[in-house]
Amino acid sequence: MKVEVRLFATFRNERFKKKSFEISSGITTPKEILADLGIKESSVAILLVNGIHSKINMPLKDGDIISLFPPVGGG
């Protein structure tokens, strides 16, 4: 299955803005995606799956969009 990962703010540095991931066996939650990207779990302030705040161990399904933000400001 395929999921899309969107990175924001400093997470983009030396990575990407948006990328499609073909999920191989073993990667089933955002936790594994973070490990794959070398992003520390503790540095993620907001994790969205399809625009909804989600937990790091939430099982992913085909077509999910994962958005990751480090701590970011208010307005």
Binding site: R6, P70, G75
Partner: protein
């Protein structure tokens, strides 16, 4: 006298005279300062039914007991008056350095009364007050006025001024200080303009006294650690400013687009904080004694200057369907030059575009400009026309409610109590919607920033769609914010600090015995005082509402698709928690309990 200077400067513009009066500090402490104290004095002295533009309306500039002290972000002042836009109490605050200088000059409050017969400005150097002719400044933009007055005043004087929008009585006019800081909302700049007061320059040589300097030093160290270790104040705001919110709000589908017709903007990344940092940012800037530094200094065409906040990127960007960051930055620049509230100005243009789309505004009225969602070419020109009150710009300068109403379509104005709602779609953020509806100054996000728990997860992550518990969160945030606004500090500190930290600060500086509870109780008192003023002013309790679109039209697409706001389910609990009756009127016993 600790924290407070104990002095009110009362100015009569008609007679060009002034008095220095003693501040009743016991009374002041009951309302802290800033927003609370200002509202108390204003309510005691001004008939709530007053026409906002009549000489009988007063303009109060109020510092907090912490303004100008060594504590962090203490550069704030508050403008309190009756709003010409909403008819409610207006309390609009600004950062920069002007507020601290007011304190150094020896005053807590300036009360400006009556109206000058021709344009003047006031020069304050400690206890020397002079009234000076401002005819040659009338019509000049903010940066030019500031430069002229900086050159002609004593060295180091700080400048507060209105731009052409305030002179032309635009109900969206701001009071500007230090060039690009704004007491933006509620049309306070137009009240200043109605008094023929162009500017106030100020310079002081006293430092406010601190009750316990050692305790304050120790506390400051602890608080600095909190600021640095908090993700938002230590990393988020310093790195990207508030602009970083564009992508967050868009990713959750609560980024109002095309005048709230939808809430997901495909091209949001083009106008995001990330893109601004990559393509326009020159350096970051900070207000008086601020270790956070959320301000952005950016490239503007061939020049440079203050950059847009999140709300501005939204109002001139997504809300108008525009993804041209260069144009938005220029529109922001012209808002600063004209002295316009960027939220209301952009949101009013968005409403005008929909009025045009729906055929209410005719092509003949556009004087050759375009007025369409997604067309950024002319937003800069519209901004200037609003500031100068030219052509259709004159109607727009009245704000989106009066504009839409004049075409018989008030439902197209996305306002609460005639104040434009900012950049967070309450249909997908239920608590924030309750906060908008009940805000004492109308559609405003900073009377209680529930985005913090509902979106950013601070101090804990709430489910943004749920209504359970949101009434309590709204009340608590509103009360705490009222106190922070009264202390003279920047609201952004509240990402890192709690009520107890504010109690510790005010105790170290003023020698008071505040606790977390008494800070919240004081906020509750201020909130009820504002509510009383509004009721006396004729704002009906039924005005705690949201535009029909947000209650009835479902968000059509994106991650918050299908949601509307459930205000009617939230209001009864909110009123009950506030100790108000079912119509939203404070009960006698509640007012007594708060000593009102």
């Amino acid at each position: 006298m600790y924290g407070y200077n104990g002095k009110i400067l009362r100015i009569n513009l008609k007679n060009k005279s002034y008095n220095i009066e003693k501040l009743d500090t016991d009374m002041a402490k009951k309302f802290i300062g800033g927003r609370g104290l200002g509202t108390k004095i204003f309510k005691d002295e001004v008939n709530p039914k007053v026409d906002a533009f009549s000489p009988e309306n007063k303009l109060l500039i109020v510092s907090g007991p912490l303004t100008g002290t060594p504590i962090f972000t203490s550069g704030r002042y508050m403008v309190v008056t009756k709003s010409p836009l909403s008819g409610t109490i207006a309390s609009s605050n600004s950062g920069g350095k002007w507020g601290a200088e007011l304190k150094f000059a020896g005053y807590d409050v300036i009360i400006i009364e009556e109206k000058a017969d021709k344009p003047i400005y006031i020069e304050i150097v400690d206890d020397k007050i002079e009234f000076k002719d401002a005819s040659y400044l009338w019509g000049k933009v903010v940066s030019e006025t500031t430069k002229i007055l900086e050159d002609s005043s004593v060295q180091g004087a700080k400048i507060m001024t209105i731009g052409p929008a305030g002179e032309n009585l635009s109900k969206m006019a701001a009071i500007m200080n230090d060039n690009d800081r704004a007491a933006g909302r509620s049309g306070v700049g137009a009240v200043m303009g109605s008094k023929n007061l162009k500017a106030i320059t100020i310079k002081g040589s006293n430092k406010p006294q601190v009750y316990d300097s050692d305790a304050l030093k120790k506390l400051s160290k602890e608080l600095l650690v909190k600021i640095k270790e908090n993700g938002v104040t230590g990393q988020g705001l310093p790195t990207y400013g508030t602009a970083v919110l564009v992508n967050i709000l868009n990713e959750i589908g609560c980024h109002p687009t095309n005048n709230f017709q939808k809430s997901y903007f495909e091209n949001a990344d083009e106008i995001s904080g990330e893109t601004m940092a990559e393509k326009f940012l020159i350096k970051k800037t900070a207000c008086f004694r601020c270790p956070i530094g959320c301000g952005r200094h950016v490239r503007i065409g061939d020049g440079e200057g203050g950059g847009p906040e999140y709300e501005t990127l939204w109002s001139f960007g997504s809300d108008c369907g525009i993804d041209d960051l260069d144009a938005i930055i220029k529109a922001n620049y012209w808002c600063n030059e004209m002295g316009l509230d960027t939220i209301s100005a952009g949101a009013t243009i968005a409403a005008a575009i929909e009025l045009h789309q729906e055929g209410y505004i005719k092509d003949e009225e556009l004087d050759g400009l375009s007025l369409e969602f997604g067309n950024g070419t002319d937003i800069v020109e519209w901004t200037k026309r609003i500031g100068r009150s030219e052509g259709l710009g004159r109607k727009m300068a009245e704000g989106s409610y009066r504009l839409a109403e004049s075409y018989g379509a008030p439902e197209l104005s996305m306002t609460v109590k005639k104040l434009e709602i900012p950049a967070y779609d309450p249909r997908g953020i239920q608590g924030q919607g309750l906060q908008y509806a009940t805000s004492n100054r109308g559609g405003c996000h900073v009377r209680g920033y529930l985005i913090s728990p509902e979106i950013l997860g601070l101090p804990e992550q709430l489910d943004r769609f749920k209504i359970e518990g949101k009434a309590m969160w709204a009340k608590t945030f509103q009360d705490l914010t009222a106190s922070i606004d009264s202390l003279g500090l920047c609201l952004f500190t509240s990402f890192a600090f709690g009520a107890e930290d504010y109690a510790n600060m005010v105790n170290a500086i003023c020698g008071t015995n505040h606790t977390a509870d008494s800070i919240l109780e004081t906020g509750d008192r201020i909130w009820n005082l504002e509510k009383q003023f509004n009721l006396d002013a004729g704002i009906a309790p039924g005005e705690d509402k949201l535009p029909k679109r947000l209650l009835e039209e479902k968000i059509p697409d994106g991650p918050s698709k299908g949601w509307v706001h459930k205000l009617s389910e939230l209001l009864p609990e909110y009123y009950s928690l506030r100790g108000w009756n079912k119509d939203g009127i404070p009960k006698e016993e509640k007012l007594e309990e708060l000593g009102l």
